[in-house]
């Protein structure tokens, strides 16, 4: 690991660990930290597909939502055990992802995007219409923040600061896992697929299976983020599955610079929520200005904040594949 990366990670860790101490002083609030972490994890796992495998999944809210609903349903009907509910949520989202990926993994490009949108809409539609299970448009209400039971001790997650640290711990684990995945032989293969799928297939890799597996992992971790979001929100709501919400995660990933950096999506999530609150304080039409900003990023700096940073450091932004070795 280079010195620059060590410095970045140290700063990031210090910033995230001390966040509850200063976030209220700068005019923001504790819950925002949880939102940024959850959506950051979601965007990071989404980027496994977009940035690393080169697959534009435009209906990813479905898996985030399935995680949230599975968490809520397990808590209500099976048992209010945090580990069971979180694990079940990951499993449900991964299964849903596995099913969808089986239909679409032989596609690529824009066609892939169209198919993921269609499947995302199916899940969203079921969530809205299946009243008896999902609560329809109102969603699943009155979920509880059950304490995290470690056997020898049990920690209450009722207040936002302790929940923040719990979410931070889970996110660290998940992000470490993602980091290992993208730097593993599997990670190399999916990056090869992004660069040239045909060539990867000719070398002898079973491209379909790699694309399928990347989707399953991404969906499962998105489901984990969704479950954490349900825990934080005390409910699971269908709006996270809408086309718009699925678009937001793409926005975060792109604005942060997910195409050129592992950490880009996390930065993008932070920018998204701070921008929402900052613009929201100034004007009630913040999506308008955020949309304009996003259009400008796509046109002028599609490599996002991380791309700007890399360019400032005087080198052409290396594609993700080139920096995988360190």
């Amino acid at each position: 690991m280079s010195l620059r990366q060590t410095a970045f990670l140290t700063l990031l860790a210090a910033g995230l660990l001390t966040l509850p101490l200063w976030i209220a002083r700068v005019g923001l609030y504790q819950y925002l930290g949880i939102e940024i972490l959850v959506w950051g994890l979601y965007a990071l796992s989404f980027n496994l597909l977009l940035g690393y495998t080169g697959l534009p999944s435009f209906g990813h809210g479905a898996y985030f939502g399935v995680g949230a609903y599975a968490f809520g349903l397990l808590q209500k009907h099976v048992g209010a055990n945090l580990w069971l509910d979180l694990g079940g949520a990951v499993l449900a989202a991964a299964l849903c992802g596995a099913l969808v990926a089986a239909f679409i993994s032989h596609r690529r490009g824009i066609y892939y995007a169209l198919m993921t949108i269609a499947f995302g809409q199916i899940v969203w539609f079921v969530a809205i219409k299946w009243h008896s299970v999902t609560g329809g448009e109102d969603g699943l209400l009155n979920l509880k923040r059950v304490p995290a039971d470690f056997g020898f001790t049990s920690i209450s997650l009722a207040d936002n600061v302790s929940l923040y640290y719990f979410v931070l711990a889970i996110c660290c684990l998940a992000v470490w896992l993602l980091w290992r995945i993208v730097h593993s032989p599997f990670g190399r293969v999916i990056q090869a697929i992004r660069q040239n799928e045909t060539r990867a297939a000719f070398i002898g890799y079973h491209v379909w299976f790699y694309k399928w597996l990347a989707f399953v992992v991404s969906a499962g971790l998105s489901g984990l983020a969704g479950a954490l979001f349900a825990l934080a929100q005390l409910g699971a709501f269908p709006d996270v599955m809408s086309l718009h919400a699925s678009g937001f995660v793409v926005m975060m990933t792109l604005i942060g610079g997910g195409l050129v950096s592992f950490w880009g999506p996390l930065i993008g999530a932070a920018v998204f929520f701070v921008a929402r609150d900052a613009l929201g304080a100034l004007t009630s039409t913040w999506p308008l200005w955020y949309g304009v900003m996003f259009m400008a990023v796509v046109l002028l700096e599609p490599e996002g904040i991380a791309g700007l940073w890399q360019a400032r450091r005087g080198r052409a932004a290396p594609p993700i594949a080139a920096q995988a070795g360190d």
Binding site: L50, P56, F58, F103, H106, R107, R108, G109, I110, Y111, A113, L114, M115, I117, A118, Q121, I122, F125, V126, K129, S242, L243, H244, G247, V250, M251, L254, T285, P287, L288, Y290, G291, V292, F294, M295, V298, L299, L300, P302
Partner: protein, 309 residues
């Protein structure tokens, strides 16, 4: 006999709904097929057309009161026809603006075009909220085409027939334009081999701009024609753009008749399930999609497309 008379209204309903879906999908298909851009702003342009027509049909007093009074005195049928021309033209201009910005993304990953239009959709939807508010509106329909028709003891809305006929006419016109005019030939050639088309001295950037404007205008036309049936809300665009996606995937990217056939199939599926399980009627189109792509990966008439690379 009994079954036929029971089913007939639902079949009529399904086919007319399918034609409306086809009308929505036309502009989307044109932009996707020719420019290889997934225009996520399609639904917003659809809504924008409907809102502009609303403003044109229900003029309020303001500057130029005399002109407005003269305009308001026109018969409603004429005003409806005028709105059907003026609003798509305005939306077409808006489409040109989008295309002008979109130029920077040509030759890059097609993802950027999709993302840019997503941003545009967000902006248009919010603009609509600012200009017209969030309440629901109903687009007034001229008396000639409103009311009901009594056929064999069943009542059909006259406007539905008008809308379905209009959709049929638009499908035919677009097909004639693309397949039977030199402009259509140039557009298709531009999609196929832009280098040669440019070498032949054709102004390709202008052509692409006009195609985008045409696609946006078609979205607006669909928005206006469908508004009296679905009502006008800021998020009506999402209701419109999702069937358009489905239909294109179902019919196969790049296939005109595939899309039209898919629209009618989707309309029939929605119409028939609507008769027996109305709550789930919209799900049937998704199930239809899954069933088709399981067996025919490129949709009904899809060919291998450049978009897959």
């Amino acid at each position: 006999m009994g079954l036929v008379t029971d089913l007939l209204p639902h079949l009529v309903n399904g086919v007319s709904l399918g034609l409306l879906f086809a009308l929505i999908a036309l502009g989307f298909m044109l932009i996707l097929g020719v420019m290889e851009v997934i225009n996520l702003a399609h639904g917003s342009l659809f809504a924008l057309g409907a809102y502009l027509a609303l403003t044109l049909l229900t003029p309020k007093s303001g500057p130029g009161a005399a002109a407005i009074a003269w305009y308001a005195a026109l018969p409603p049928g004429t005003r409806f026809a005028l709105a059907l021309i003026i609003a798509p033209l305005l939306v077409g201009l808006f489409g040109m603006l989008i295309e002008l910005c979109l130029r920077r993304t040509y030759g890059k990953d097609p993802l950027y075009g999709l993302l840019f239009t997503f941003g545009a959709a967000l902006v248009i939807e919010e603009l609509i909220r600012v200009l017209w508010g969030t309440r629901d509106y109903v687009l007034p329909v001229p008396p000639q085409i409103s009311g009901g028709l009594l056929i064999e003891g069943m009542i059909y809305g006259k406007y539905r027939f008008f809308a379905a006929g209009f959709a049929l006419a638009m499908i035919a016109l677009l097909w004639l334009f693309i397949e039977r005019t030199p402009y259509g030939a140039i557009i298709k050639a531009g999609a196929h081999d832009s280098e040669i088309v440019r070498a032949l001295g054709i102004n390709l950037p202008r052509l692409r701009m006009l195609v985008f404007a045409l696609g946006a205008g078609l979205a607006a036309i669909a928005g206006i024609v469908i508004a009296p049936i679905w009502g006008i809300r800021p998020h009506v665009g999402v209701d419109a753009v999702v069937p358009a996606f489905l239909i294109i995937v179902l019919g196969g990217v790049g296939s005109f008749w595939g899309a039209v056939l898919a629209s009618v199939l989707v309309g029939l599926a929605v119409g028939l399930t609507g008769a027996y399980a109305s709550e789930w009627s919209l799900l049937s189109m998704y199930l239809l999609l899954i069933a088709v792509v399981t067996f025919r990966a490129r949709g009904l008439f899809g060919k291998k497309s450049v978009l897959e690379a």
